[in-house]
């Protein structure tokens, strides 16, 4: 009897307890979500009707046009005046924020939003130059499925900690002059790193890469490094995702130097001079000085053909042994003058509407960072594709993606390259 009563009381208590806990969890959850909501409402109300200075590389007319389109959109949506500050190198913006920090300008910075990834992000994050914990609170961030999709929370292996909102994905794409590489016995298209070496030996002076620390040149070297380690044992391979140290540097990079020692004598200008940028490489293809080149922004190739900057005989393709791929982001400096407005813009850039527009081949062709399963059918419909240009990269041609090594390898490669090849003998 007593025991019965005890159990009744206990079960009543425990019921209450469970109910209370459930209530608590629900209320916390709703509290958290209302908190997020009210946070966003605050961002919206504070961010409207202002200017946002968006520091972004300005070397591609198509990308510039897309940013102009985005500027019109945020103008009508939030009355935000998005100003594209065109950089020829993103590190200019990094230097700028640093100069402001050194001048003790901690809240009136001139950079509001910056297009960034990799080494520049690593530098800014190391020097605490970025606003923290905002990107993961953007309403549209949930479309990237962050819990199942680590790519949006890591930049070259470094956790973003909400300092960067993902914007797009890019892969290393090659293109060639089909009149110069005609497929005859000695002149077939190289589709692996090794074939590239032997092709260049047979066609000396027709291939090269931009001089490090140029971003594209570094990408080629990283592609080579990752490929050269495909057969290495797992412990050595794992070093690529670890920071470069004095101990592991020589071991990891030696295969690369051996490869370059073989490759360089076959390059344009015998490897004694390197071009300055990817754009110069494209111009040299147009001039027929080079026959094969590569880019991280595949849609620039058909766009250049349409503008007559490349001949009609250009074709794009992806290497069969793998394509180096990475995500690029937008970030807000810690001292940005218009932080809320910049968040509104970043959120818009993540919207299905903006991402779908960006993915269209004639607009930009940059791969979306949104995960289709998180979108409604109407939103998914925005991403339908059109017939690509003959010179564009054929759909689904990227067979295998290679992830970027740890950003510290960039410096190790640059330094090693500079001492070995930076001064011609």
């Amino acid at each position: 009897m007593l025991a019965n009563k005890f159990w009744q009381t206990l079960s009543r208590y425990s019921f209450c307890c469970v109910a209370f806990c459930i209530c608590l969890v629900i209320s916390f959850k709703s509290l958290a979500s209302t908190q997020l909501q009210s946070r966003w409402q605050q961002v919206e109300s504070l961010g409207k009707d202002q200017s946002v200075y968006f520091y972004a590389w300005g070397g591609d007319a198509q990308i510039n046009a897309y940013i102009q389109w985005a500027a019109q959109q945020v103008k009508t949506k939030y009355n935000i005046n998005l100003v594209h500050v065109k950089l020829s190198d993103t590190s200019e913006a990094v230097s700028r924020v640093l100069a402001e920090k050194s001048a003790n300008n901690n809240d009136r910075g001139s950079v509001d939003l910056i297009w960034i990834n990799g080494a520049n992000f690593a530098t800014m994050s190391e020097h605490s130059l970025l606003l923290k914990q905002w990107a993961n609170k953007l309403p549209n961030f949930s479309y990237t499925d962050p819990s199942n999709n680590p790519a949006v929370n890591f930049d070259f292996g470094i956790p973003t900690n909400g300092m960067e909102a993902p914007w797009g994905q890019a892969s290393l794409t090659f293109y060639y002059d089909s009149l110069a590489i005609d497929g005859t016995a000695n002149n077939t298209l190289p589709t692996t790193l090794n074939q590239l070496l032997s092709w260049s030996a047979q066609n000396p002076g027709r291939f090269s890469y931009p001089k490090p620390p140029d971003f594209l040149g570094m990408s080629f070297l990283k592609y080579a490094l990752v490929m050269l380690h495909q057969q290495s044992d797992e412990t050595l391979k794992a070093q690529l995702n670890q920071p470069a140290t004095a101990q592991n540097t020589a071991q990891v990079l030696n295969p690369l130097w051996d490869f370059l020692n073989k490759l360089h004598p076959t390059l344009w200008r015998d490897g004694s001079h390197f071009m300055q940028s990817g754009a110069q490489m494209r111009r040299l293809i147009g001039d027929t000085e080079l026959s094969i080149a590569f880019t991280f922004s595949a849609p620039e190739v058909p766009a250049a053909v349409k503008r007559y900057d490349l001949p009609k005989s250009i074709r794009s393709y992806a290497m069969q042994d793998g394509s180096l791929s990475n995500t690029h982001f937008v970030a807000i400096p810690y001292n940005a003058s218009h932080q809320q407005s910049a968040q509104l813009v970043a959120n818009f850039l993540l919207s299905p509407e903006a991402q779908a527009q960006k993915q269209k081949a004639p607009i930009w062709g940059d791969k979306s960072v949104l995960i289709q399963s998180t979108l409604t059918p109407q939103q998914q419909a925005l991403f339908k594709t059109m017939q690509p240009h003959p010179s564009a990269l054929p759909l689904n041609s990227i067979k295998r993606t290679l992830s970027e090594p740890h950003p510290s390898w960039v410096n190790a490669i640059i330094q090693g390259w500079q001492t070995r090849f930076g001064v011609s003998q």
């Binding site: 070397g59 590190s91 100069a99 001089k211 027929t288 007559y308 930076g422």
Partner: protein, 584 residues
């Protein structure tokens, strides 16, 4: 400023005494203001580069003074190579430009050809260095115009060959580019000196006397004219030498990069992702300063040596040193220079309207206005900025120059040697050495007003040219007009506004056109001081030269030439309609 003086001038009867005072005070203060305006930013900028060079950079958590930066610099692979390249290209290009200038002057002195050559070359003066480098690069590249003219019918090249130019490791391409760009400047400077009525007349008479004594025309030039001409050419030559040894645009586009010239390397270090490189960059900037200083000293020393060694030649009575051959060589050289420049201009124009244009074809497959259309669409904002900055800077430069020159006349004391040298300071100190420091200072003082910062920085480069251009005309003004007006009771202010300025209308317009041209062409100062926020035609052109097609670059280069040209045409036409009497 002029509004104030206008008001004051309008009511001279009420407070004649006070208005004269105000104006005179203003005029009296202006030279000091000018000096401060030129010295402070340059010195301040240098100090702000000096501190990090010795390891003081609070942002990077370096606060202990030391030689760390210099150690890093010395360990840079290929540093000697960089230094040699900078010194070699700077010295040889200046020397070549100077010698060719002298040969052209000597061969065509007192001949109508001199004016024709001047007219052909003077448009080159307004082409920004970046645009000129692009044009020259296209000419000498393996796929360039020269190669296309002989391919494939002569050379058999179906694809562009594996060539050597541009980017050759000896810097020959840089020397070629710099020489072609500096030659017109030196020639026009020399012709400007010879156009001074007193001096020009005297020299022409002396030349004639020498001819009558049986001297060959070229010998007569070197023995009679050069000794009087050279001292007036010295500062422009030194400015050219300083610029050539530390310029960025030409070596960036035409030079080698394993390793590049020192100035280019410094710029890369300043812009590098690795912020610690800035300490090395600052040390490098200091080294650049020493190199440029050393080159200037070397030039001055060479001048003294030549004077000591060859002064006897002036009076040895020798009439002829193979003048006929030299005349022929000069003619060939002149034709070569002009042909080279014309061919690159033609190339530039063809690229701006070219459709597909594959290598061996000497002409484009089709012509299109697409590049102009798309460029003009994107150009509105930069165009507005370019004009606004140029106009504000030039207006300010002209006002301060006029006031300084007026003060010289009011006090009846010519400007001191020191002041004349200071006006050249921003041209003699390599800009890469002080601009980064200056921008840091501007950040500290005034961060938001990017437009103001850009105007202020442009002023450093515009002011010297405006001053040089106006000074000779102002000093040449007949003082009797002013004396007569003053004796009739006009205040100094009224004399300045109503007597002097109208007489100077044409020279002021020429100075304005020159100032605008200089301002339009500035790349590094605009980029740094504006923090990249202020886009002008020139910054866009360099970004695009680095990031887009040769066709778009050509359109921008043509725009860069067109703008200053419009300015010069206006300066030439307007005086025909206004202040005609004064012009006569």
């Amino acid at each position: 400023m002029s509004v104030v003086s206008n008001k004051l001038a309008a009511s001279p009867t009420l407070k004649p005494h006070k208005s004269a005072d105000m104006f005179s005070k203003l005029v009296k203060l202006s030279p000091r203001f000018l000096l401060a305006l030129l010295i402070l930013p340059v010195i301040g900028g240098l100090i702000s580069v000096l501190l990090p060079a010795f390891g003081y950079a609070p942002v990077l958590e370096h606060t202990t003074l030391g030689l760390h930066g210099f150690t890093m610099l010395m360990q840079t692979p290929g540093l000697t190579h960089m230094v040699m390249l900078s010194v070699g290209t700077g010295l040889i290009s200046t020397l070549l430009a100077f010698i060719i200038t002298l040969m052209i002057l000597a061969a065509f002195f007192n001949s109508p050809w001199l004016n024709r050559i001047q007219r052909l070359l003077s448009p080159i003066l307004v082409i920004p260095h970046a645009a000129a480098a692009i044009a020259v690069g296209f000419l000498i590249a393996p796929s360039g115009m020269i190669s296309r003219l002989v391919s494939p019918w002569f050379s058999g090249w179906e694809l562009a060959p594996n060539g050597m130019f541009p980017h050759d490791s000896f810097g020959i391409s840089i020397i070629l580019g710099l020489t072609l760009k500096e030659l017109p400047f030196l020639l026009l400077m020399a012709l400007g000196v010879l156009a001074q009525p007193e001096l020009g007349k005297k020299l022409r008479q002396q030349h004639k006397v020498a001819l009558n004594l049986g001297y060959c025309p070229m010998t007569a030039f070197f023995k009679v004219i050069l000794p009087s001409l050279y001292p007036l050419l010295r500062l422009p030559i030194l400015a050219v030498l300083a610029y050539a040894s530390a310029s960025v645009e030409m070596p960036l586009i035409l030079g080698p990069n394993t390793p590049p010239t020192l100035a280019v390397a410094i710029m890369h270090w300043f812009n590098d992702v690795d912020l610690n490189l800035r300490i090395k960059a600052s040390a490098g900037a200091l080294l650049q300063l020493i190199l440029t200083g050393g080159l200037l000293a070397l030039w001055l020393g060479g001048e003294k040596t030549i004077k000591a060694l060859f002064s006897d030649l002036l009076t040895n009575g020798e009439r002829e040193y193979g003048g006929v051959y030299w005349q022929k060589i000069t003619t060939v050289l002149t034709v070569f220079v002009i042909g080279f420049i014309l061919l690159s201009l033609i190339g530039l124009i063809m690229w701006s309207v070219a459709g597909f244009w594959r290598f061996p074809a000497a002409l484009p497959d089709q012509l299109t206005l697409l590049h102009f259309k798309s460029a003009l669409m994107q150009m509105q904002n930069p165009l507005f900025n370019t004009l606004a900055i140029g106009l504000v800077t030039t207006l300010f430069a002209i006002i301060i120059t006029l006031l300084c020159l007026e003060s010289e006349q009011l006090s009846a004391k010519p400007m001191s040697r020191f002041t004349s040298l200071i006006i050249y300071l921003p041209l003699l100190v390599p800009s890469i050495a002080f601009l980064f420091g200056l921008v840091w200072l501007q950040q500290l003082v005034n961060n938001q007003a990017a437009f103001f910062n850009v105007v202020f920085t442009h002023l450093l480069f515009v002011l010297p040219y405006v001053f040089l251009s106006l000074a000779s005309s102002y000093r040449r003004l007949d003082p009797r007009f002013a004396h007569v007006a003053a004796s009739l009771g006009a205040t100094p202010c009224k004399v300045f506004l109503h007597v002097k300025l109208p007489q100077l209308f044409a020279p002021i317009l020429i100075a304005a056109a020159l100032g605008l041209a200089i301002s339009f062409g500035q790349y590094l100062p605009t980029l740094l001081a504006g923090g990249g926020r202020i886009a002008t035609i020139t910054t866009e052109a360099v970004t695009l030269a680095n990031g887009a097609s040769r066709r778009t670059s050509a359109v921008y280069a043509i725009m860069q030439m067109a703008l200053p040209l419009i300015g010069f045409i206006l300066a030439w036409v307007l005086p025909k309609y206004f202040f005609k009497s004064a012009h006569r």
